[in-house]
Symmetry: C2
Subunit: 251 residues, 2 copies
DNA sequence: ATGACCCCTTGATATAAATCAATGCAGAGC
DNA sequence: GCTCTGCATTGATTTATATCAAGGGGTCAT
């Protein structure tokens, strides 16, 4: 059962129907509003419609749940875990266009087919809506449309940054940019380590490099004293300053 | 004076105030609605507010009208001509993130600073709004918000395609993809030629290549009989089929 | 006309990153 | 205990593309 502790509806039990389907906390996250402002805008009929619309889904690591080119039936909001989004060429070359963490939307596009594939990096929890119902939700909750526009704008900025990276940065600059992005968006653990849920292959496909180049670059950074590569997927950033100047090509 | 022939308001002259400031046809384009549905939703007070909000701007070729990192005061809708959008690194390396033609929006981002620069490729006509007023326009015309979301979604799809191109395609595949994109989005002239308004340098900065590689690749395609490179910026696609299989790496 | 400038093309060479190859390590299954 | 498999690291070599360099053909101002 989803955590509802951050939402204050203990006094209004009927409202918890939403929580029961995993919708309420996610819906708050989607709309980026306080739960109370969402709930004051809906009535009992809405509740049943919303409950009906959302399904909580759990996807195991490595499982692909959106196939590029398939009919786009669903719309997702990531609740926990990390998803990789990718596009592929017929001969198997693959470009990961982004990693989506908690709060991110998938399947926004206007097209009736998915423009990308999506695969769980680790265990992923999703809030799934049918796109058809999504459309009626948007009519009823105009805030949500604004929220989606905001999200799309942010993704667009990220995409443009990534285009600069892919088109004009060297391997070292790419890896430095990636580590800093990850450190800014994800959280560091208690030891100050950055936990990267994805494999070297995923990083390579995200940065437009090969596995070997990513590995060599990380080794070089370690030799330079910029980072410490721990066991598994943990990395410590020892000199954020040097990584930053490297990432922007100031060297 | 802007062309109003596509809008049917000859019988309601007062409405032409909008056309007088270059707003009305552009506004229709922005909202992607028939002029009548826009105008039925507004009254005289709205007209003066809208007229006030929009300014028609003409930008000469090569003129940069958005500086990356400057405060984002305005919001633009391209009326005619082609704009190049770009991001740059401190040492001068540049990535063109897209070319914006008639109907495209600029300055959508949530941030209070422009995330990219914009420069006119040829003579560009723009409809300019202050972002502050844009916000109130969005409140009054909810259709517009949906239209912007649609636009942003389409741009996101284009950005992801470009990431695949920049990260994983060879020079030949990149140039082939570019030519086909241009042929699909722009119009061919009467001789079946594609007119590219941008220089080889712009194409290179868009495709993550150098001028020399773009030039050599076009020469190679000509030698292969895929294209014909005319005088100036005109190119004829002789075998769209071969270009398509090349663009997707099927060779 | 002349020179300056910009853009494009083509050739020769250099290099960053890919590819090919070998090895090590850790977890899963038997 | 084993082997098998996937992932990561490191080394040797290749290659696609960048860089360096030269020359041609416009256009514009003098």
């Amino acid at each position: 059962m989803p955590d509802t502790s951050s939402c204050q509806f203990e006094q209004r039990p009927r409202r918890l129907v939403m929580g029961a389907v995993g919708l309420q906390p996610d819906f708050c996250k989607m709309c980026n509003v306080r739960p109370s402002s969402v709930c004051s805008a809906i009535d009992d009929a809405d509740i049943s419609r919303l409950s009906d619309a959302a399904v909580e889904t759990i996807v195991p690591p490595g499982r692909c749940f959106i196939e590029e080119g398939e009919p786009a039936t669903d719309f997702f909001n990531v609740t926990s875990g990390t998803v990789k989004l990718f596009k592929a060429l017929p001969d198997g070359r693959r470009q990961i266009t982004g990693f989506a963490g908690p709060g991110h939307f998938l399947g926004l596009a206007v097209s009736d087919r998915y423009a990308f594939g999506a695969e769980a990096v680790d265990t992923v929890r999703l809030c799934r809506f049918s796109r058809e119902r999504m459309r009626t939700l948007l009519d009823d909750f105009p805030r949500m449309e604004r929220r989606l526009l905001e999200e799309a704008s942010n993704e667009l900025v990220a995409a443009h940054n990534q285009m600069l990276l892919l088109g004009r940065k060297t391997a070292r600059e790419r890896v430095a940019s990636f580590l800093l992005d990850q450190a800014n968006h994800g959280e560091l653990n208690s030891a100050g380590q950055l936990h990267l849920p994805m494999t070297r292959g995923d990083i390579a496909d995200y940065l437009g490099l090969t596995i070997e180049t990513v590995s060599r670059t990380l080794s070089w950074m370690r030799a330079q004293g910029m980072i410490d590569v721990g066991k598994g997927y943990a990395i410590t950033l020892l000199s954020r300053e040097r990584l930053e100047s490297l990432a922007e090509g100031e060297d």
